[in-house]
Symmetry: C2
Subunit: 230 residues, 2 copies
DNA sequence: TCTTGTGAAGTTGTTCACAGCG
DNA sequence: CGCTGTGAACAACTTCACAAGA
């Protein structure tokens, strides 16, 4: 199936690049807030901890938005990256599970702002129903399908305990949601066409432990993992 | 300098593999809880959403722990992966910032268990000092250096607002901590030799938005990102 | 002059396909 | 026979180094 088409996709931005665009965006917004009008690839690369050639190549996938001898216009680049990521339109998000994590997400800077609108907070636990979190009243999980339809929810966020996650995911899929962000420590089963991204708060910790162990073992020189020696 | 030692016991496990080991570990623990004694690469791969050849190659970096014609012994593999990740010893973790996110982390399954011990919860806000979270009393940020020394903290977790993150990071580094897990939406500056991993809860959301936009634009067939078509 | 944008080279990661072992 | 472990082919990603433009 799917023989390699002779003319692939012109808009094919590498996945690795897509994963870095939000990082650049964040740094650019910080520069913009400090009133800095332009930035060179060298400087932006240093700020974000990547190689400057990689940064230029990443940006070149969006188009030629730099000025040789000068650098990139901060505001214009913010706009272009936002547009590419689809953040110039507002995406409605529903968060299920209003424990500490759900509350943290609802209040997370950049989660409720810049391109995302929290349309609903839902939970199954009677004791939190009606609580006001980030300006929203917590609703019952059974209203999920209605909320998705009425609020035009396109992204579902699962912040429930592991045991409830698959059920919530099924409800999202049933309601027509095709993008799910899962914080519960389980692997979700979804039909083809549904995107699931998983954030596991403890996996990062385990990766750090691995490197920490390396340092403790007989190991010649310390090595940077994400940092930049320069 | 550091000429490669003649026989360095090639312990160089690819970074991509290290990042997947926690995922396999999680799936294996789930199998173990259900009393399943052995698993094939095919089955474990399906559960975790990777290609089975990749899984076998990943595991082959740890050693030859499978049995041809049978598969892998679940318990034994759990032990081997745990050992490789350094989870057979307990790592002391200090969490700074006891807002919703800090509380969520302190209560996160697998964060306080399986290889990690939360040694301290610290905050600068007077109003939360002394609160009991996950069985621990919240201490003052100024005791950080003492706590790191007394509790032998090797990993620092930053769950503060963005504005406080660099200061907290500096305190960790000053106190001798060389691994930092940062949840604040800023890029931290650290000296060489210190590992920083960053988790940005909104970056994943932005990546989802990108793919959601792709689906909305004229786009021939839906594509799986993390899923497995089979 | 300074910095972008990009071919080309180099590195890392993935998948195939099958030999070899239980 | 079934499944692992792995060389070899392939694909993706990163970095180098420099031509070309402002």
């Amino acid at each position: 199936m799917t023989p390699p088409s002779p003319r692939p996709r012109d808009r094919g931005i590498p996945e690795a690049t897509v994963a870095r665009l939000p990082v650049y965006l964040r740094a650019l917004q910080a520069l913009d807030e400090r009133g800095i009008p332009t930035v060179s690839s060298e400087h932006l690369a240093e700020t974000t901890g990547v190689n400057s050639a990689k940064l230029r190549k990443d940006l070149s996938h969006l188009g030629s938005y730099g000025t040789r001898g000068v650098g990139y216009d901060v505001e214009y680049l913010i706009y272009q990256i936002s547009r590419e990521l689809g953040l110039t339109q507002d995406w409605s998000v529903a968060i299920v599970g209003v424990g500490n994590l759900g509350r943290a997400l609802a209040n997370y800077g950049g989660f409720g702002t810049r391109g995302f609108r929290i349309a609903a907070l839902l939970d199954a636990d009677e004791s939190v129903l009606g609580d006001r979190v980030a300006g929203l009243a917590v609703g019952h999980i059974d209203t999920l399908a209605d909320v998705v339809r009425e609020e035009n929810v396109s992204i579902g966020v699962i912040a429930t305990p592991a045991a409830a996650a698959q059920d919530v995911c099924d409800r999202f899929v049933e309601a027509g949601v095709t993008s799910v962000l899962n914080f519960a420590p389980v692997v979700l089963n979804v039909p083809p066409g549904v995107d699931v991204r998983k954030v596991d708060l403890s996996i990062e910790l385990q990766i750090l432990a691995f490197h920490e162990q390396r340092k403790a073992d007989g190991h010649a020189g310390p090595e940077l993992i994400g940092g930049d020696p320069a």
